[in-house]
Subunit: 206 residues, 2 copies
């Protein structure tokens, strides 16, 4: 940590202590648990401890990328909003929301999907944080499997009932550093919490 | 609806149809269910059908206020971000995030709490949407019970482990139009979903 400022508010630390008491048995290592705990704090839903999946290289790759100031691309504005403060307090990575990059969707695509593909052209090795749009995650996975390019990390946490599980299965098939939320759950707050936890890990071990 | 544009994307309608199939028995009326369904869509968590509480006047007061372009005050930027698009598509209410109104917290208070109290001085009859900060909800409830002023609606959906349940209990004791999420659950996405559902109800019955 380059200065004395604490990244986590005292109330957040109190909240973490309660989660520590209540979590019970789990199979997460300490870095994985730091991420799960922040997600649980953000949702009050302990089920996330069982839903998170980490590729073996995910957290190390994420930390290295964050420190190298690799650009961060979110699918929607709400995820971007949820990480802006912590990015500004730490490594100041360039940060954009894919949906805000395009005013009109390409034919047959959603606006988020169109945006994420344009971002991948510009930042193929970026950190991708998907908290909302399964169409964006599916399109990103398709494009990656057609190319030799690999993002530094993909956080796959779209939420909902249509194409969400399929999009996460597509991500799981790729050999790319990734953190996923299995099943239907996820969301902007969850995706932002995962990235914020990674920023704290990267900063506190700087 | 003043023009032919659909407020809900076709994928959202598909998602709603799946929720309709899976929800099972509940005791919500049709407007309450419209709100619960949007929250379930946003979280993939059916528990919210049982956690939502509506004061008898809440939805009618909300609809009337939204149509009258009453200002909307959120606690944090992420809630504001989550409702910006739907507000712009409908009644264009003035929209601010309390935390963004102050750069330094008053002594002994959080920044969000300081911000919400300043907003209440300016907009005592506003629509308050709290998705994150229990300190802000507690401070707002205290100030309301000391005054004769009543907001048009309070959405009480802070999330977490510290002061969250207490803040919702304080809201429940007030005779103010309100929609609450009981217990620890809630969050920015949940608060935004409740307000967005209200905007759709107000617009489609315009």
């Amino acid at each position: 940590m380059s200065d004395g400022e604490r990244l986590n508010h005292p109330i957040l630390e109190q909240s973490f202590a309660i989660i520590d008491q209540e979590i019970g048995n789990h199979s997460l290592n300490s870095w994985e648990y730091a991420i799960a705990r922040r997600v649980i704090h953000t949702t009050a839903d302990f089920e996330f401890a069982e839903l998170l999946r980490f590729s073996t290289d995910a957290i190390e790759s994420a930390i290295a990328c964050l420190r190298r100031k690799v650009p961060i691309i979110t699918d929607v504005g709400m995820v971007k909003q949820g990480i802006t403060t912590m990015v500004a307090k730490t490594f100041n990575n360039f940060l954009i929301a894919a949906v805000e990059q395009v005013s009109v969707a390409d034919a047959g695509k959603t606006r988020t999907e169109t945006g994420i593909l344009r971002c991948f052209e510009q930042y193929p090795q970026g950190i991708y944080v998907i908290g909302n749009a399964p169409t964006a995650l599916l399109a990103l996975c398709d494009r990656i499997s057609e190319s030799n390019l690999k993002p530094g990390l993909i956080i796959g946490a779209p939420v909902g009932f249509v194409s969400v599980v399929e999009s996460k299965q597509a991500l799981a098939r790729l050999s790319v550093p990734q953190i996923r939320v299995e099943g239907r759950k996820g969301g902007s707050s969850v995706a932002a919490a995962i990235l914020n936890a990674l920023l704290v890990l990267a900063w506190e071990n700087f």
